[in-house]
């Protein structure tokens, strides 16, 4: 590696990040929901960390540690390992750096749950609330019959 792992200007190993994101939010077993890495959210996470750099060293160090661990197993990189092996390395890393995966999960969820494929799988339209809004049925306030029969609750004074 030419850059130290905590160099805030350094680019992340994109493939490693993508595979980690796929471990954090994997594809659903029924195929409806894609994995976070598969959606290309590693670029989103990079952009987010450029704007809010505080967690960047933690993420960079974690990815570097996973790369190093993969090399230690004789792989050319983390991304080259089978998924089960990737998962084992991530589990092992979580024991020494427990904040790494939750922090990355927090970051990626802010993008994942805005992705059109994800929203569609959740039964949501891919749009902001405005201008279409939402239809809500008028309420049936006969629900209030029991309350209407009550004596006044406030104190006269």
């Amino acid at each position: 590696m030419t850059n130290p792992p905590n160099d805030s200007a350094a680019a992340f190993p994109v493939e490693t990040l993508a595979r980690v994101l796929d471990l954090l939010i994997p594809p659903s077993t029924d195929g409806r929901l894609p994995g976070a890495g598969e959606l290309g959210l590693s670029c989103y996470v990079e952009e987010l960390l450029a704007k809010t750099p505080a967690p960047r060293p933690l993420v960079a160090q974690g990815l570097a540690a996973l790369e190093a661990a993969a090399s230690g197993r004789g792989a050319r990189g983390f991304a080259e390992l089978p998924r089960d092996a990737q998962r084992a390395l991530l589990d092992a890393h979580a024991k020494t750096a427990p904040a790494f995966a939750p922090t990355l999960l927090f970051l990626v969820m802010t993008g994942y749950y805005r992705e059109p494929r994800v929203l569609a799988a959740l039964g949501l339209e891919n749009r902001p609330p405005f201008p279409k809004g939402h239809a809500v049925e008028e309420s049936d306030f006969s629900l209030l019959d029991a309350v209407r029969r009550r004596e006044k609750l406030y104190r006269e004074c």
């Binding site: 749950y113 609330p129 405005f130 306030f141 309350v147």
Partner: protein, 538 residues
């Protein structure tokens, strides 16, 4: 460097264009006096509110966050809130915090004005519900309040518009209250459920608390201000007032402020009116020190900044087995319960609280909430865990009455300053034992209500850290100059051409959102000024 003089003196100078400043300006325009309002913020552009963009859930935690310390917009000033478990939330713009309020719009109860007489705590207000009632009604017409007549928790009132629909989520929770035999009622909501006075009807966007792109929510930039401007009131934005200046005779003579270009100016006025909220108003008074007023202006009682009241909130969320469509509809308006509002000594605390329904949130927000609760982790079970929470939460907020205590206060921070170098406010606040007991009671009763509605799991947070939405009591009204800052119609005891019209006036907090009362008070004070114009300063 000298101070640039502005144009001619004005009759009335209002500082702050939020809830109270707007209502007051509109009412006082009847007099045809020369009225100027200085506002440190800008006119908001509703088309740029978060709900109009794909990043709407993220902006609520950034440039439209509740706390100015997080938001850091150019109009914001910092607040040292390190010594408070509840963080102040306010917005600086034309419309003030009505831009970001939920528009839950109840009145105080008659008993709220008589806490000392009825319950032996705090003080009575120098006015009563009957006095304020016509001003509530006037304000509700101007703001366009939706609700339902017949609530047994209140004296009769007639909302202008039909209530906000409960939705699937609200009906579910309502049935919980019914099962327990507890009071509930559709919220009084400052939301146009039908087209109203030029405002488009609510289309259930959801995130009212980051601005209403539809214009259905009654923020004062779309209610009072257009009407006030048509009546000739002038409003200047990006003007941050540093201090109120005084004449040799101890009367206010205007303000020193920084204009949009940062130029220091002096605007003279016959009457100065503070409408800067329960933190901004004491900050400005305390920053207005002079030889005549070494402890800050209008502070001979020593009470400016003291008796700060929030409403401590308990947030209780229930997790339901079915989807609730909770992201559809005004997030903070649906129903409220006042089963536990009035004092009942058997509960172990004095005074009481209301419940307010909180609807659900969007897909990002629920993910972040669930992760923070430890309910959503990474890995192969992520989707299963998310499915169990998404659109399956309903919340109840217990909004508890906070009693006035002098040690809860706003002072000036010795070091922290805003962008213009003006000393920033510092908050010192701790929960009373009474509030702690009330929060515990409210959390337990909310759990019962949600479980009765079918919630399978319930989660509580009390006090809710971000919920310093209501800022009250820091320049309170009263007849005794030694125990209050202003008189029974908002005029300073010490400086007779200086008025306070915002939440600082509150003697007690009640247990409901204060905006309707803040505005009713502003309208009431405007009428008293109109009636007393001939001898206003006597």
């Amino acid at each position: 460097m000298g101070i640039s003089m502005s144009q001619d003196p004005v009759d009335v100078l209002i500082i702050g264009a939020g809830a109270s400043g707007a209502a007051f300006a509109w009412s006082l325009a009847d007099t045809r006096m020369n009225i100027l309002c200085l506002e440190q913020g800008e006119w908001m552009d509703p088309s740029r509110y978060p709900s109009a963009g794909a990043d709407w859930e993220l902006r609520v935690q950034n440039d439209m966050a509740f706390s100015p310390n997080v938001r850091r917009r150019p109009a914001d000033y910092p607040i040292n809130d390190d010594a408070s478990p509840i963080k102040p939330a306010l917005f600086n713009a034309v419309g003030g915090s009505t831009i970001t309020y939920a528009a839950h719009f109840p009145r105080l109860h008659p008993s709220d004005f008589r806490a000392r007489t009825l319950d032996g705590v705090a003080d009575d207000w120098p006015l009563d519900y009957a006095t304020l009632e016509p001003y509530y009604a006037q304000n509700e017409r101007m703001m366009g309040v939706a609700g339902l007549a017949g609530d047994p928790a209140y004296p009769p009132k007639e909302p202008a518009l039909p209530p906000v629909p409960l939705g699937r989520l609200g009906e579910r929770v309502a049935r919980g209250f019914d099962a327990l035999g507890w009071h509930w009622w559709p919220s009084d909501s400052a939301i146009a459920t039908r087209a109203y006075e030029g405002r488009a009807p609510c289309i259930n966007l959801g995130p009212c608390t980051s601005g209403c792109a539809q214009g259905a929510k009654a923020s004062t930039d779309v209610t009072y201000w257009p009407a006030a401007l048509r009546r000739g009131v002038r409003l200047e934005t990006h003007c941050r007032v540093r201090e109120i200046s005084v004449r040799g005779d101890g009367m206010a003579d205007g303000v020193v402020y920084y204009d949009a270009q940062g130029v220091e100016r002096h605007q003279r006025a016959e009457i100065v009116v503070l409408a800067c909220n329960g933190i901004g108003t004491p900050r400005l008074l305390l920053n207005s020190r002079s030889r005549q007023f070494p402890d800050g202006l209008a502070n001979r009682s020593g009470l400016v900044g003291r008796n700060l009241m929030f409403h401590p909130y308990a947030m209780v969320n229930g997790l339901f087995p079915e989807r609730l469509e909770g992201y559809k509809g005004p997030v903070g308006c649906g129903l409220m319960s006042q089963e536990f509002y009035e004092t009942d000594a058997s509960r172990g605390f004095t005074r009481g609280y209301s419940f307010e329904l909180m609807r659900g949130v969007g897909p990002v927000s629920i993910a972040l909430w669930a992760a923070a609760q430890g309910r959503l982790s990474w890995g192969d079970r992520h989707h299963e865990a998310y499915e169990a929470v998404f659109d399956r939460t309903a919340g109840l907020l217990a909004i508890c009455e906070d009693l006035p205590e002098p040690h809860n206060c706003v002072t000036l921070d010795p070091e922290l300053k805003d962008a213009h170098g003006i000393p920033a406010p510092r908050i010192q606040y701790r929960l009373s034992e009474n509030s702690e007991k009330m929060l515990a009671h409210g959390s337990a009763r909310a759990r019962e209500a949600l479980e009765a509605a079918g919630a399978q799991q319930v989660f509580s947070e009390a006090p809710l850290r971000v919920a310093g939405w209501h800022l009250m009591g820091t320049a309170r009204m009263g007849r005794d100059p030694s125990r209050s800052v202003v008189n029974e119609w908002g005029r300073s005891h010490d400086v007779r051409n200086l008025f306070v019209i915002d939440g600082s006036l509150f003697v007690t907090a009640g247990a409901v959102n204060p905006t309707n009362t803040i505005q009713a008070l502003a309208l009431y004070i405007a009428d008293r000024i109109k009636e007393n114009l001939g001898n206003l300063f006597e």
